[in-house]
Amino acid sequence: MDTAIRQNRPRHGLLTFRRLYLDLALIGAGIAAFFLFPDSLGFLTRVLIMIIMVLSLDLVLGYAGIATLGHAALFGSGAYAAGLFAVNFSADPLLGLAVGAVAGAVIAFVSGLILLRAQSLTLLMLSIAVAQILQEIASKERAITGGSDGLLGISMEPIFGIYAFDFVGQTGYWYALTVLTAVFVLLKIIVASPFGLAARGIHESAERMRAIGTPVYWRLVAIYTLAGGVAGIGGALSAQVTELVSLDALGFSLSAEALIMLILGGLGRLYGAIFGTVIFMTIHHLAASVDPFNWLFVIGALVLIVVYFLPEGFIGLPARARKLMRWSP
């Protein structure tokens, strides 16, 4: 982890331009994907939305070291809030995003007050419990949320009143890509800020941070709330683009899968969240279309290989390869 700190020393100025070429390449890849795979826009949009969710998890887990298995609670809250807002009040997409972000942040703040006092297994269990309770409420309040049928009847207005959502999902894709880019830039600024460094400091040693006067608990609550807002945006996007919110948005599998994606990619660098999500979801997409039943073999083996042989995730591959080259005679 200290290599990560050395690589990410705070720089003067608002944005860190060190990996600008990589950022531009990623955005370029996002744009290129639209033209390369015009038939899979639905799937690609889901990937973009999932990246937002996993980025949010990276902020919590990779930077602040909060181990959670209930991140779907924040995503799902954003999704249900945006969906209900669209059905009952206004179908303006950007307003809906804001509602989703606020809902995710509020749920994160309230649950964080309890969660973040705990550690390790207790923290994991409490985070699972929060998501399960929310899912149970969504499942039982059938009249409002549609229960297990899902929240139906979402129909979004055009973005800015100009760009209408279409059946192929072209607008949805550009919309998701734009939101993702904005979220990514925002997170890059945040993790390079003193606030982001404090998060990493707490991860490394909460005692030392306390000793130098950081209010550790409240810092963690702030990070969790922020991540809740980001996850809420992801949830709101998914509600708006798919025009459906199902109970799975609050489910344990979503939390677990997000965790797997993040660790596949690599913790605490934001890029890992992007690569991990793309790799996981692409393999899932391909394996599930070839053989839906044996896909768990693939993902199980993949997870074990990464945990046993690539502890830094796929993002650590280049460094590892470079090391191998250097050591070879």
């Binding site: 269990m125 419990a129 039982k140 797997i260 083996a301 945990v307």
Partner: protein, 286 residues
């Protein structure tokens, strides 16, 4: 008051199942300090083996149960020696990931061999008949579950409190390095305990198949349930697991009977309350 006695009997038998499956998890997690999400997988393997033995191979229920539990114990021993020795040194997060990966492989294997439908276990006719207890009748199966749970608890108590193995195990749970430097073979203790815990999970999975039906996705569906028992009871505490399992079993059953509109909310609220007040569980070490 048939309602209350009904809730109590169903709740206690449900709790006994939870106890039998979770206690092995609690001990291994307390002993090895690892988060093992694959534990429910051993219950699945036991249940699947018992399904195959009773319905396809045509063995009797008792023989099948013994064979299934024994084979799960062997599988667990092999896994412990091969995969888990590395997992012990992992960070918490890697443990979660690695054991989820193992769970996926278990699910996929059962799915490949036996399909994704419910895998019923054929029980002898004696057990499916109701039994008259004088004040009410109840399925013999429930009674057997309760008795098996109590016997398991008693046997575990004896094993841990009255045998040399138990003394060594408790020493290793308290302080592994100190135990090792006193000449206790902790590696062996780990392997035996892990295998024993997996065997108990298999046993509980087979006996509980009526309440928690066995299918390939069993470990994912009930993983949270088993972890809740461990977290509430306190890692490494057998008495804690016992009381937590019974209490959670009764709370969940009562909530289902009395306020079905709230489902499992009470179960999780109860857990959050306990963990907020006592972060290490009811009987966990602080």
């Amino acid at each position: 008051m048939p309602a209350i006695s009904g809730i109590l009997i169903d709740g206690v038998s449900y709790g006994m199942i939870l106890f039998m499956i979770s206690v092995g998890l609690s001990v291994t997690m307390g002993l090895m300090r690892i988060i093992n999400l694959a534990h429910g997988g051993f219950a699945l393997l036991g249940g699947a083996a018992a399904h195959w033995l009773t319905t396809i191979a045509g063995f009797g229920f008792v023989i099948s149960t013994i064979l299934a539990v024994a084979s799960v114990m062997i599988i667990a021993m092999v896994l412990e020696r091969s995969l888990y020795t590395r997992i012990y040194r992992f960070t918490e997060l890697q443990q979660v990931l690695a054991t989820i990966g193992i769970t996926f492989l278990m699910i996929a294997s059962v799915n490949l061999l036996l399909g994704s439908t419910i895998l019923p276990i054929r029980v002898p006719e004696l057990l499916s008949r109701p039994i008259d207890l004088g004040f009410r009748t109840l399925p013999t199966h429930r009674l057997m579950v309760v008795i098996a749970g109590l016997l398991t608890a008693a046997a575990l108590y004896y094993l841990l409190e009255r045998t040399w193995f138990g003394v060594r195990l408790r020493a290793a749970v308290d302080n592994r390095n100190m135990a090792a430097s006193l000449g206790i073979n902790t590696v062996k203790i780990y392997a035996i305990t892990f295998s024993l815990g997996a065997g108990l999970a298999a046993f509980g999975g087979i006996l509980g198949a009526e309440l928690l039906p066995i299918d390939a996705y069993y470990p994912l569906r009930y993983m949270v349930l088993f972890l809740v028992v461990v977290a509430v009871g306190g890692m490494g505490s057998i008495a804690g697991s016992f009381f937590a399992a019974i209490a959670l079993g009764i709370i969940d059953t009562a909530a289902r009977y009395i306020v079905p509109e709230y489902g499992t909310i009470f179960f999780f609220v109860a857990m959050m309350l306990v963990l907020t007040l006592r972060p290490n569980g009811m009987l966990g070490r602080t």
